[in-house]
Each structure stands twice: as C-alpha cells, then as structure tokens.
Amino acid sequence: MFNMTKNVVANLFSKSSTRLYPIAVRGHFEGFRGTLHINIDECIFCRTCMIKCPSQCIAVDNKAGTWTCEAMSCVYCGVCVDVCPTGCLSMSKEHRPVATEKQTMAYQGVPKKKKKEAAE
C-alpha cells in the first residue's frame, strides 16, 4: 500500500513519459537508412546495383540511360549504396512519407558512349 502511494506521488510530479506527438516529433539517428537517392549525373549505368539488389527492385537500362527503382519493393538494406563504384547512390535518414499509390523512382541520364562511338 505504501509502495503504491509512493508511486502515485512520484507520477504526479514527474514529467510526461510519452511524447506530445504532433508537436514533438522523434527524429532519426545519423546513419538511419531512410530513403534511397541517386545523383543521376554521376551514374555510369554499370548495373551493379541492379545485379546485387536482393529484392530486385532496381532496373537499369544502359542503352536508354534510365535508372528506375520500385520504392515499394525496396527493403532499405543499403547493399546498392555499398557496391556502387561511383558513389552516386546514397541514403538519407528521413523515411518516405505515407503514400496511397505505388511509387516508382525514375531517372533519365545520359548513357556513356562506347569508345568507338565517341571517336566517330
């Protein structure tokens, strides 16, 4: 009984143990794998990310110069970021907002010309 009274008094004078959600939002820690980004200008369309992706959500067309990612299929493991030879893939700590429709990240870049074509 005395224990309970002690707890009740402590609870009356302690600060709230929950966050006032819409006002106070919990941020993410540094290094959290939230969203995948690509700097398409640096991409060489080598298709390494497409081959290594465990959920096979990335599609790269090296002739047309397109890079697409099915955002809803991505599991945010970060393997593509690790294997990218140019470092054009990165992850930011803010996660994707709630969506009502399936999203696809589609980027159009300039495919690298082969040496022969470049010489002509």
Binding site: S17, F29, R33, K52, Y76, M91
Partner: protein, 358 residues
C-alpha cells in the same frame, strides 16, 4: 463426460501469429490438442535457387523479424565455414554485441506479450517502454530498428566508434536499472504467480525426450545453450547458461527475465574487450561443400544446413527454427490444463510461427 472440440486460433487476441489448435475439452479441461500450421508459408528456402548466396543474407534475415541478426549470423557462419574464410576478431565481437541486443529486445517483447496474455496490460507497456531503448541502440548503430542487415560473408558492414560504445554502455546501464525495477512485479507478484506457477509443467525427462530447446529446455533443468559451442566471440568471452528447475510457465519466464540481464552483461563485456582491427575480410570465389551451423536464438537453438555446389546459387538451405522443436512439448503440456490457462501455456513457448513456416 461429453467432449467438445474448440478451435483456438489462427486468429486469437493472444496470438501474435497464426497457429491453429484444435482443443478437445471436457467441461473446462483440455484433454487433447492438435495443431495446424501453414497459414504463413512464404517459400523462403526455395528462393536460394533464384537469389545468389550474398543476396540470401537479406532473405534469411526476413525469416524472423525479431531475431533477424541471428539468422544472418548463422547463415554467414555457415558460408564462411564452407569457404574457409577467417572472420576478423573485431567483427566477431560486433556480431556478438548485436546478437545479444537482439536477444534482449526479443525477451523484453516476449515478457510484455506474456504479461498481456494474462491480462496485465500495464506491465506489458512497461516492458515495451524499456525495449524502445534497445531499439534506439539498434537504429543508431545499424541503421535500422529491426532488420539490422549488418552481417556480410566475411564480417560485418558497420563499425562502432568509441563514442558510440560509450553511449551504448550508458543506455544499457539505464535499461538494466529499468528492467530490475520490474523484477518484483514479474517474479514476485501474487497475481502473476497465481497465473503462471504450476501451469504447463514440462518435466526434465519430457523436455529431453520431446526435444525442447532454448528457455523451454533450461526452464526444465537442462543446462544446454548453443552459445556454449562458442560461435561468434563466445569462445573467448565464456558463457554459463541460466537454468531453472520447476519446468512451469513461471520458470520459463524467470529464465527469460534473467537471460535479459545476462545478455546486457555480455554486451558490456564485449564492448570492454572489443579488439581493434578490420571489420570484414575479403571473400573471393564461390562456396562448394556442405555444413551445419547452430546458434542460440532468443527462442532456442537455430540450425542451418547449407549445401553449395560451386555456383553462385546455394544448392540447399534448410532452416530449423526453435519453435518447430518446441511444438511437440507444447502438445504434451496442454492436456490436463484448464481452458483459461491455454493462452499462458501457448505463449510460454514464445511461438514464432512465421519463423517455423519460413
């Protein structure tokens, strides 16, 4: 007396995952239980034919969300054994730290769900509040809360800085203090004891004969734990399993509660002895051969059988999860109990049905 057949699950307020039990009852006493599984089969083992052996790490992590790190650890250790890869010491210690943090958060989750099974909602929330601190450590150090994805073949992907180590030690100390505050409620409370003591008794011989694993086995008096085999850094850290002798639901919850504190101690010890050096060794070639690896999951012993034929795909990945081994003991515990005790007894094996069905 007339017998009635009562379906328990697959959708039941107390069950986090779908398990169907056909309970034959006489008045309010259970006389027979028949399980049905197969509601969440995903065919993950078969995926080894279309995903290469590196991509399988992310797939085996998804066998079980709660112990994802340990699944990946078991798989990676197996492939490393086949390929003869020497893992750097620092990577072994980091694997131990993350593995034990997974055990802590899984046991805290279970202790909360167990409290919920006998209707103690506020205790459930207290355990989950402490668990959130462990999830924060995971998010800050691995980049994700649950499926941490840190293991690769040959080592780990992320390192801990000295500041992070210090911060983890602080957080672990606070978590330990908060867990100890709850010990008198989960272990000594009159109502809790009334619901757990003597419910679902599994004798020492039964536990051995029916092949129970993990806290089920240790709650019945057997000092057996896969961590004694010395995987990851346990060979250097040393390990003594926690044992209780009563074999009832209370003994199993006591084993899990004490293991939570023990795992926090292991995390502290591993951080204190964390060696300097590389975190991953370079791996070349493709695996060829077969092996069996065992690690201790929060629910018990996890076993992987791996067979590789020298191509980039594994030939066979066979996963035996602890819940699969713990279902026969569950069926031995249920006959003779009261219907109202069924949720407590089912929860006391810590069922992870998605794990079992893969």
């Amino acid at each position: 007396m007339a017998r009635t057949i009562l379906p328990f699950g697959p959708q039941h307020p107390v069950l986090p995952e779908p398990l169907h039990l056909k309970l034959t009852i006489e008045d309010e006493t259970v006389v027979e239980a028949l399980p049905t599984l197969g509601y969440v089969h995903r065919g993950l083992e078969k995926l080894c034919e279309v995903r290469d052996f590196n991509q399988m790490i992310q797939i085996v992590e998804r066998v079980c969300g709660i112990c994802s790190c340990l699944h990946a650890l078991c798989y990676c250790e197996g492939v490393e054994q086949i390929m003869g890869v020497e893992v750097p010491r620092r990577a072994k210690y980091l694997r131990t730290i993350w593995g034990e943090l997974h055990r802590v958060h899984s046991h805290l989750l279970w202790l909360g769900l167990f409290a919920d099974a006998f209707g103690f909602e506020s205790l459930f929330m207290q355990f989950w509040r402490v668990r959130e601190r462990i999830m924060d450590i995971m998010e800050a150090t691995c980049g994700n809360r649950v499926v941490v994805s840190v293991n690769v073949i040959g080592g780990v992907r992320r390192d801990l800085t000295p500041e992070q180590c210090k911060w983890i030690e602080e957080q672990v100390a606070i978590a330990e203090k908060e867990i100890r505050q709850l010990s008198s409620t989960i272990l000594n409370d009159y109502t809790v004891k009334k619901r757990c003591c003597g419910k679902g008794v599994l004798t020492k011989d039964q536990a051995y004969q029916l092949g129970a694993v993990g806290p089920m086995l240790r709650g019945s008096g057997w000092a057996q734990d896969a961590r004694q085999t010395g995987y990851a850094a346990f060979g250097e850290l040393g390990f003594e399993p926690i044992v209780e002798y009563d074999g009832d639901s209370y003994a199993r919850s006591a084993v899990r509660f004490r293991e939570t504190l023990q795992s926090l101690d292991i995390v502290r010890l591993a951080i204190a002895r964390l060696p300097e050096g590389e975190i991953a060794s370079k791996v070349k070639g493709k695996p060829q051969g077969e092996t069996v690896t065992r690690v201790e999951q929060p629910r018990g012993e996890l076993m992987y059988y791996l067979k590789a034929d020298g191509s980039k795909h594994m030939d066979r990945v066979r996963i035996r999860t602890p819940t699969f081994a713990n279902i026969p003991p569950l069926l031995a515990m249920l006959p003779g109990c009261e219907l109202a005790d069924v949720p407590v007894i089912v929860l006391s094996i810590d069922p992870c049905i998605s794990c079992t069905e893969r």
